[in-house]
Amino acid sequence: MPQQPQAQPSPTPPKKKKIRVPRVVNGIEQMVEIEVDDVAGPGWGPHDKHTLLNHRITRVDGPLKVSGAAKYTYDVRLPNMLYGRVRRCPHAHAKIKKFDSSAAMRMPGVKAIIQGPLTELRFAGAPVAAVAATTPELAQDAARAIVVEYEVLPHVVTPDAAIKPNAPRVLPEPQPAPATGSPTPGTGGEDNLAAKGKQGDPQKVAAAFANCDAVVEAEYRTPRLHHCCLETHGMVVDFSGGETATIYATTQGTFTIPQDAARELGLQQSAVTATVQHMGGGFGSKFGIGIEGLLACRLSKETKSPVKLMLTRSDEFLMTGNRSGSWQKLKGGAKKDGTFVALQATQYRLGGVGQGSQAGQPYSVYRAGDFYREVYALHTNEDSAIAMRAPGHPQTSFAMESLLDELAYKIGMDPVAFRKKNMPDAMYHRQLDRAAREINWAKRNATPGGGSGPLKRGMGCAAGTWGGGGNDQCKVDVTVTRDGAVTVAVGTQDLGTGTRTFTRAIVAEELGLGIKDVVEQIGNSKLGGANSSGGSTTAASLSPSVKDAAYKARMELAAKFSPLLGNAKPEEIVFANGNVTAGGKSIAWKQACAALPPAGIVAHGVWRSDLQSRGVHGVVFAEVEVDVETGKVRPLKMLQVQDGGLPLNRLTMESQINGGMIQGLGMALFETRVMDADLGIQLNPSFMDYKLPGSLEMPEMIPLIDDEDKREVVIGIAEAAIIPAIGAIANAVFNACGARIRDLPITPDKVLMALATERRSA
């Protein structure tokens, strides 16, 4: 290097501070303590002082995506590449008795068949084998030609049956440890119903109920849901038996891939590169290589050929996990003045063979005077629940928002006023007031079910909360070269959330350039490191490091440009509009950069905890129309007020809010995994039968960024965006027609049944 930095007197080591940050493991947020430098540095500054951030920036990968030029994992095709296919178990619980792939192996184009790692399958859809062949069609033929004979075992797929004492056991019996005879930890052996914790004092709660003016006791259920990523799970393993491999993965965690893949391929971790340039949706379901990745690697290793194994749509429904269902028995009590004084909750997490997830009651937006809760995992012979956008929150929020609404109506109080009375955090009050104003809440249906004619309109509301804080795992380098080119290299991946765009915008704004003057490198495990994109942690993890790197680059450039600007003090040099300016002299960016050393400059960003935070709020108001003759619910309007500190990009943030509301709409009205209790299979593992919200069901969507939130920090909002939509729709249905549906999705049959029940009890 021609210009080595001069030897500096060794600086005092920076002060350290300990902070708690989220770490996402398989999409589930866990808080850990880390130590970071306690130093001041660049701040974001007030929200109205930005030239690019907090503006509407069209996404930089948009032109590639609208023209079909964006290459997804599914689009990768390599020379001599084989296609993988999975054979699944058709039974809810079975042991493999016979596995014969000899005939399949003899079929044209078939290069390898491997048996899966499991011999006892505990849900229908569990993978038992995988095939590699020269075309997808031939791979499918061979997968079907494998002869598998099963010993079919008893199963249970509904929570109501699974909870019964003599129900078939879902998970294996605990294995006694040889020495002590006590169950060995980690065998997964537990009864179908496993206690997961309790909190509160049941006696105090019982006493509190005695002093309530209104008590509501009800059961709320939410179904198991599917992520429905349009790009199915899978990967392309580019390995031909050599010493290195490249994995094209559709993943939320680029850095979760190399270790797992290296193990399967028998390579060093450093010899495996994982890359994801564009990915077609994850929503919490794409961490690690997964069973499909394991099979793809093994097929590649056996054939010494690149293998592409992308799951089919039915594979995707049956073997890639789903959102935990829930069954919640709640009893809540309130005073006439609207104080929520008592709550008793029994919460079942419906996670299939997995543990499931469900936030504890009372949902943390609200304060209940006294509460007692018991939480259980209730197992069924279904694929494991995994993380899905805001794991555990929509379930808990829907039940609590419904219960609160019931209490509010029972004591004759405005549901908004009732909520505010029990929300300790004043930011919600402001958001509720704004949303109520925007949707004209005062004009809502005064009497649920009232009015003439079969079409009833109503409004409902709900609130949500999420962390969205970051951590120090993203490596960021900003490079500026003599030709004026600016590159920001980041370890993370862009799921379609707009990560590329805000990364560029931060650097461009800092250096006084336009979005097109910066290019990013992203989505490659060779770019250092990053946390997985889960738990809405990416923006708050990445953006502080990008800001820090861009700031350091600017400072270093200022020092280098100073001689060109009459030896102006570096801190007085202004970077704006593609120029560097000081003391009345202005030089164009490219001209200034020509004075850089041949290697240009590289600035390394350090994560700064003070540039991010955690804790977002958010409220949704919904208006629906219910046809009380057909039971059909038509969503008319959904409006969300969402805070998130500094909006990095208003355009993409609004899109995220829309997306959250629409997925919430799906959960509220349409989506459910339908199981056949006798056969133990899913009846709707396809886009034909699993109903997603579509263009005809779209209400008017109004995403509103809460600009009263003046916090000069970045917080992730993607998960927050989905949570309150569900309760808002359900409550709007009640306000419209006077029937309360406590079992999602709110389909016409349930509406008609609830209306009939109301009429009978009236």
Partner: protein
């Protein structure tokens, strides 16, 4: 269990162009030779026999597809869908249309066939012979976007982008038929396209904006 690759039931059709096509293709050697076909087309050694009308075609067949104005030679099985031919058999591949549901419900594979939007997962490649095919790549490039493509970017009518080629294709075809649509007509036009990220409201905005731009 449902298997998504059940052979597609086809009724007897006597489309003249298809018959003409079938007469002209031979029966390639079964199965094993297909590998060689794909990997090293020059090494093909199978003898093409004339097809007997009414007899099923098996093995692989050579066809020519007209994709985005270019004649593309490709070897497919008769059961190969147009979508798989574009993505897995053409060299170089055309990957704008996406494989998502593979059963004609989501619209991510939408292409234009003689100007009409079709699900390419429901069309056999051999049935697309002689038809003018347009994929999303045919409307414009990242550098030179069509009005519809530009409107999608401008209005953020995309997030992950996997459904986007299908929406762009559907809307491009729709605006040709209806240059001045209402919001409800746009909704109706893209009811056969699914998005999971939740871009619908902005897809509608983009479509209306593109229509408006087209009129001015």
């Amino acid at each position: 269990m449902s298997d998504e690759h059940e052979p597609k039931k086809k009724t007897d059709r006597h489309d003249p162009s298809r018959r003409k096509f079938l007469k002209g293709v031979g029966v390639a050697g079964a199965g094993a030779a297909l590998v060689d076909h794909l990997i090293a087309p020059d090494a093909r050694a199978t003898t093409n026999k004339s097809i007997v009308a009414g007899q099923p075609v098996n093995g692989s067949v050579d066809v020519v597809l007209d994709v985005n104005g270019a004649r593309r030679n490709v070897t497919v099985e008769p059961r190969t869908t147009l979508l798989n031919a574009l993505r897995n058999h053409l060299e170089p591949a055309v990957t704008g249309p996406k494989l998502v549901c593979d059963m004609g419900s989501c619209g991510a594979c939408t292409v234009l066939m003689d100007g009409k939007n079709v699900y390419s997962c429901l069309v056999l490649a051999v049935d697309a012979v002689g038809k003018k095919l347009t994929t999303v790549e045919g409307f414009g490039t990242a550098e030179k976007m069509s009005a519809v493509q530009a409107a999608f970017v401008e209005h953020d009518g995309l997030m992950c982008g996997f459904c986007t080629p299908g929406f762009v294709t559907t809307i491009s075809a729709f605006l040709k038929k209806n240059a001045n649509p209402t919001l409800d007509e746009v909704r109706e036009a893209c009811k056969g396209n699914f998005c999971r990220c939740g871009t619908y409201p902005r897809v509608f905005e983009a479509a209306l904006a593109a229509a408006k731009a087209g009129r001015t």
